[in-house]
């Protein structure tokens, strides 16, 4: 496993697991339009995961499906932030916004990569992520506009902050903190990041559900 495939798998796992988590709102989001929008965002994330897995698979002599579904949960590199099951709207928006903000910084760095495949894919992803960010920012602004919203979002952000820091490596963390502080108009708690490599219990549960079809059908089944 090269440093390159390590990086690709980390981002792919983030996008796959977050896409899965976001899709848990399908059918039960606060209202119909949001249901469609958030489900569509979830599908986009999973589409990004597939493209990233394909790039890694080409190097590893594997396939995107094998990488997405045939590894044990402890081998996933997804940041703990996306593993958490937080089926509560303020927390969902807090995570969505924290992740998209972190992802923007990560993609900006990757777009400058000397690896043309990675730089190209990052640019392509970023064009879609721009709408995710717009969606997340609008929601945060909307929650910040009322007292109840500000309180609930603030609580959720504080809870998720060490996880949000864990999405990025230490070179990009200060910029994430600066952006979050600017948006919220206050400093974020000074905490240790909960970094990649940690596996939350919720991940194993999600993995079981996510791979159930794959495991129930013989490998190589065509859909």
């Amino acid at each position: 496993m090269s440093e390159r495939t390590d990086l690709l798998l980390a981002i792919a796992d983030d996008e796959l697991i977050l896409g899965w988590r976001n899709s848990e709102w399908t059918g039960i989001a606060p209202f119909l339009e949001e249901d469609v929008a958030f489900s569509s965002i979830a599908q986009n994330e999973i589409g990004h995961a597939r493209a990233l897995y394909e790039l890694a698979a080409a190097e590893l002599g594997s396939t995107a499906d094998e990488l997405a579904f045939d590894r044990p949960p402890e081998e996933y590199r997804a940041a703990p932030l996306v593993q958490l099951r937080r089926l509560e709207w303020a927390r969902t928006i807090a995570r969505h916004w924290l992740y998209e903000t972190a992802d923007e910084l990560r993609l900006a760095a990757l777009k400058d990569s000397d690896d043309r495949e990675i730089a190209g894919l990052a640019a392509k992803m970023d064009r879609e992520e721009a709408y995710h960010r717009m969606h997340a920012e609008m929601w945060v602004d909307r929650l910040l506009a009322t007292e109840e919203g500000r309180e609930r979002l603030g609580e959720a952000v504080d809870e998720l902050w060490p996880y949000a820091l864990g999405v990025l490596d230490d070179t990009l963390r200060p910029e994430l903190a600066a952006r979050a502080q600017k948006k919220l108009g206050r400093a974020l708690p000074d905490v240790e990041p909960i970094a990649r490599g940690v596996h939350e219990d919720e991940l194993a549960e999600l993995w079981k559900e996510m791979t159930s079809v794959r495991r129930s059908a013989p490998a190589g089944a065509q859909w």
Binding site: F31, L32, E33, E34, V36, A37, S40, I41, Y131, M134, H135, M138, R142
Partner: protein
């Protein structure tokens, strides 16, 4: 707020009413319209308009039943053809072979 969404399927085609989205403001309406009517590449452009900005006209009084104003009552095709022949404008009629 309810926003009415119109979509254009291909460049040059007329926009047609696609449906509506409920959104707290124009920015949310844009996101929701994009996701509902554009995410499958089914549209090349969308128009968004707050429902309140549309003026609906739904009364068309016809007290004297002036049927002769309607085109569905009788066929004028043969009579039109005759008239065109008389006037020598047959080749200018819609659908006529142009040379």
């Amino acid at each position: 707020m309810i926003y009415e969404v119109f979509r254009q399927e291909r460049k040059g085609q007329p926009f047609q009413h696609a449906g509506s989205v409920t959104a707290p403001n124009e920015e949310f309406a844009e996101i929701y319209a994009r996701e509902q009517y554009g995410r499958r590449q089914e549209s090349v452009a969308l128009w968004l308009a707050p429902r309140a900005a549309l003026r609906e006209i739904d009364e068309f009084p016809d007290e004297f039943e002036m049927k002769y104003r309607r085109v569905d009552g009788y066929s004028i095709k043969a009579r039109l053809q005759e008239a065109r022949e008389r006037a020598g404008t047959l080749d200018m009629a819609p659908g006529a072979a142009s040379e």
